[in-house]
């Protein structure tokens, strides 16, 4: 009991110190990030903290900017699972970030950290550390045995902390930093008279470090391009790993970074090929599509239960999972053309989702293929897309068309004017039975028509599916007309729209842009158009397969070299130094 109380006090004290240090570092970095939009051109900085400002569309330089990115909950989870095994799985729920250039992955480069977020980090770190050193796990997660379990043991603590530190810091720990952690373990073990409790406290501090919770990229002079910078080997390893695996680098990747292999063309290709061949690529692809398809909306998605009783809480979770399983199956497992996700009849079903689709199923997830001629084909006809882009009580051709344009074609649709008049749209006249009749008002009003003519005709093709994603042929007794046109191509139903999308050049270009942005953490509009055009061509040459696209991007100069860009103003630069120092 006494030991427990001491432990708690020490944890609290330790956590307070860590949080304070972390808070200072993060706050300064956040100031820097928020100031970076107004920066003036100066020389490139050598720290990510000093190089986070977006540049303009007209820049002609190669490379991508250094980034300081928050680690996501999923990335931390995957990293801990790799290091300690899947049993070490503390509940991780971090605050959402702002979507930038269509991606949360880019938004994480522009995010701040709130005090409550720090608390979550601390709780996560404490829980993970306690799990690692508890009696059930310590004997196989700690690779040495202390001389006494009731006293400190520097040698054993150092062995463990150096090994784990390298993996969580994503680079070897500096000797003085390692000594600091060993010292903390020593002090705590002595006070608590418990070697493992002390080791847990040192591990908690390590996990709570800004260098763990944030991915801070560093650059170094590029010998192949005098006067230019490139990512240092460990930063490149992290960028590769978070991009392709959605986790911190593994042991082999860090070894490749240490040996200099990553800075040779052959060595980098060998590493990328190994990563693309690994099963862990599925995690990376899932994370990317979860981000690109805005599936985080499912964390808050709900429908009117009286209208859509089939859309249960389990179905909400499973709808998201269904889309991700289908994407990974098509693009990773079966290595299919990206465009096939718009037309495939193959999917996966869970019991609750099967009930929503009115299909038989078996317990667990099972592969399922819709029959030929079924209106269900492709990602657009899955509950995830249909339900996410609808109102709680009715479908929305406008929201669906807008999502289609913005998410899948990278074509931003302007927001409605502030003084928009919804009265015509919300006319309670019972004679207006279908959504097609209702949204026809959009096209009659010239103010509305400008935007709605690019969204509604596409969204109307999905009207055979209600707001929960259930198939229907009529709406309030009126037969649904799902015909329309898109960019000059006419269609009569969702099946034909799927084929139009399959062959639409913007679909594949959009994916290439999004993947590039996601990998580098930078908006794609900073990349010269010629470079992006070359990427599109290579994607086409690779048969629109995802792995070749990932390979092209990760082996490109743009991925590993650092772009010269606008640096912070003097004021911002002044606040950079301590932050950069803290983060490192």
């Amino acid at each position: 009991m006494r030991l427990f109380q001491t432990n708690k006090i020490h944890f609290a004290s330790r956590a307070t110190n860590s949080v304070s240090k972390f808070a200072i570092a993060i706050a300064t970095a956040a100031v820097l990030v928020s100031c970076s939009d107004t920066t003036a051109p100066t020389a490139p900085s050598k720290t990510s903290a000093a190089a986070v400002s977006p540049a303009t569309d007209t820049a002609e330089t190669d490379g991508s900017p250094l980034r300081l990115r928050l680690v996501t909950a999923e990335q931390l989870h995957n990293t801990l699972a790799y290091i300690f095994g899947p049993n070490i799985s503390p509940p991780v729920a971090f605050a959402p970030v702002t979507r930038t250039d269509g991606l949360l992955g880019v938004g994480r480069s522009f995010a701040g950290v709130t005090p409550s977020q720090l608390e979550l980090y601390q709780k996560t770190a404490a829980t993970a550390a306690l799990e690692v050193v508890n009696e059930s796990n310590r004997h196989f997660l700690v690779p040495c045995t202390p001389k006494s379990e009731e006293a400190s043991d520097d040698a054993c603590a150092s062995t463990f902390l150096a090994s784990v530190g390298r993996l969580v810091y994503r680079r070897p720990l500096e000797a003085d930093r390692l000594a600091q952690y060993v010292g903390e373990a020593r002090d705590a073990s002595a006070r608590l008279k418990d070697f493992y409790a002390g080791l847990g406290i040192a591990l908690e501090g390590m996990l709570l470090s800004p260098r763990v919770m944030m991915v801070s990229e560093r650059s170094e002079p590029d010998p192949a391009n005098p006067g230019k910078e490139r990512l240092d080997a460990y930063s490149l390893a992290s960028r590769l790993s978070f991009f392709l695996w959605n986790a911190a680098p593994d042991d082999l990747l860090l070894k490749a970074a240490a040996s200099g292999e990553l800075h040779t063309q052959k060595g980098l290709a060998r590493t990328v090929d190994r990563m693309l061949a690994s099963d862990r690529i599925a995690s990376g692809v899932r994370a990317f599509f979860d981000d690109m398809l805005m599936l985080e909306d499912f964390n808050n998605l709900s429908k009117d239960a009286q209208i859509y009783p089939q859309f249960t809480g389990v179905a909400v979770v499973d709808a998201r999972e269904q889309t991700l399983r289908m994407v990974v199956d098509q693009l990773v497992t079966k290595n299919k053309d990206y465009r096939d996700i718009f037309t495939t009849r193959e999917t996966f079903l869970s019991p609750s989702l099967a009930a929503l689709y009115r299909l038989p199923s078996t317990p667990g997830w099972v592969a399922y293929e819709f029959p030929e001629g079924s209106p269900r084909m492709g990602i657009l006809t899955q509950a995830a897309f249909l339900a996410a882009h609808s109102h709680p009580g009715r479908s929305s051709p406008t929201l669906r068309g807008k999502a289609l344009r913005e998410i899948l074609l990278c074509q931003p649709v302007p927001r409605p004017p502030a003084n928009v008049d919804f009265s015509a749209l919300e006319n309670p006249d019972p004679n207006i039975r279908t959504q097609r009749e209702r949204v026809s008002f959009h096209l009659k009003n010239p103010v509305c028509a400008g935007c709605h003519k690019v969204t509604d005709p596409m969204g109307l093709a999905l009207e055979n599916f209600d707001a929960a994603g259930q198939y229907r042929e009529t709406e309030k007794g009126a037969k649904i007309d799902a015909s329309g046109s898109m960019d000059g191509k006419d269609f009569t139903d969702i099946r034909q729209l799927a084929l139009v999308l399959h062959d639409h050049p913007a679909v594949t270009q959009c994916l290439a842009r999004r993947v590039y942005s996601y990998g580098t953490g930078s908006p794609s509009n900073i990349v010269p158009r010629t470079e992006m055009a070359a990427l599109y061509k290579q994607f086409e040459a690779g048969g629109y397969r995802l792995r070749p696209l990932l390979r092209t991007i990760t082996l490109s100069k743009a991925f590993s070299t650092v772009r010269e860009e606008q640096a912070p103003t003097k004021t911002a630069a002044a606040s950079v130094s301590p932050a950069a120092a803290s983060v490192q």
């Binding site: 239960a305 009115r358 299909l359 038989p360 078996t362 819709f370 029959p371 042929e473």
Partner: protein, 361 residues
């Protein structure tokens, strides 16, 4: 030439559209491969009553085991009872009921009840429904009609209904050879025990339509019964067959109850089936089931004295005469049931074989 191609194109387009609509309709309909399944989600005993009970129970309602105990073994000055003469005597009566009832029992005397005509006849003991339908076989109405446990508002009615949620008690019906839920003069209803728990819908108050239920065809063979039937104006009425109703109370004892010459009468919709499952219930099965699954404590909640009720049931029993003593051992009754559409998954078939995917009409 141009016209020909146009006509051909239009025909092709129409064919494509028809194909899409056909597939969509097949996918949307719960009738797959000429069969539709349901899982039982609600079960109440078919007992008719009036709010004050005066019409059917002019002598009042029956009292429960605790009240009966006080009557049988009253506390009197100077009188000392032994456990053998009281509690054990009573326990013996519960499990091996004596023939004679020592406490006057109140039978329901009204000739009104709900249920179904089990023998297609209108006999002198048959009931008439509140709507005027004659020939309803429900002798259990007479035995149970004045027991608070089985009357409207009873605490235990809800408890019995909840039994259907227990995994052992999942009752499935599959109607095969069905072409229409409106009219079909030759269908087959088959009962199964299900293996999957029922799921609630998003409201949390109703059951989810369209779940998949696996049949227990290994250990649950005794629950499989076949009933020939007809659907007329959306109402399915089956012929008779013997049926075993899985009956477990939570995690306690499993005592299944036999229904002889049972039949179903259900109003069918694509989402639900609602009506009656009636038959001649085996009185001894009921007694063992009731005593095994509900203690005297639980029976006391609804003033349900099993020993007295058993004697009343034997007295009113109207089927299955015993080979030795000639006394009937089964009593006509019915359950008011509601079922929710579910896809029936047989063990020998794969998911795709059970679905419309490969065999959609």
């Amino acid at each position: 030439m141009t016209i020909r191609y146009s006509v051909f194109g239009a025909a092709l387009l129409s064919a494509t559209c028809l194909s899409v609509v056909s597939a969509a309709k097949a996918a949307d309909s719960p009738i797959r491969n000429r069969s539709i399944g349901y899982v039982m989600t609600t079960e109440y005993r078919a007992i008719w009553d009036t709010p004050d009970g005066k019409k059917e129970c002019p002598g009042g309602l029956n009292e429960g085991p605790r009240e009966q105990f006080k009557v049988l073994y009253p506390e009197k000055p100077g009188v000392k009872y032994s456990i053998v003469d009281t509690q054990l005597e009573r326990e013996g009566d519960i499990w091996w009921p004596k023939k004679e009832e020592r406490i006057p029992y109140q039978y329901s005397i009204a000739n009104t009840s709900i249920g179904i005509n089990l023998d297609d006849k209108v006999g002198p003991n048959d009931m008439t429904s509140p709507e005027g339908e004659k020939g309803i076989d429900n002798q259990l109405q007479r035995a149970w009609g004045c027991v608070p446990n089985y009357r409207s508002g009873s605490y235990n009615l809800g408890a019995f209904n909840n039994w259907r949620k227990y995994l052992y008690n999942i009752v499935l019906i599959e109607i095969t050879d069905v072409d229409s839920l409106e009219n079909d003069d030759d269908v087959t209803l088959t009962t199964y025990r299900g293996l999957d728990r029922t799921m609630n819908d998003a409201t949390g108050k109703q059951y989810l339509v369209g779940t998949t239920q696996r049949t227990d065809e290994r250990w649950g063979k005794r629950f499989i019964s076949k009933f020939k039937g007809k659907i007329k104006n959306g109402m399915l009425t089956t012929e008779s067959a013997d049926y075993f109703l899985p009956s477990a109370s939570g995690s306690s004892s499993v005592i299944d109850v036999r229904y002889y010459k049972s039949r179903w009468q259900l109003a069918l919709t694509p989402d639900h089936a609602e009506g009656f499952m009636g038959g001649y219930m085996d009185v001894d099965d009921w007694q063992i089931s009731s005593n095994s699954t509900r203690s005297t404590h639980h029976q006391a909640y609804g003033a349900a004295s099993t020993a007295s009720i058993y004697r009343a049931m034997r007295k009113m029993a109207d089927a299955k005469p015993d080979a030795i003593d000639g006394e009937n051992r089964a009593i006509s009754t019915a359950l008011r049931v509601r079922l929710t559409q579910a896809f029936i998954q047989h063990p020998e078939k794969s998911v795709s074989e059970n679905s419309s995917a490969k065999k959609a009409d």
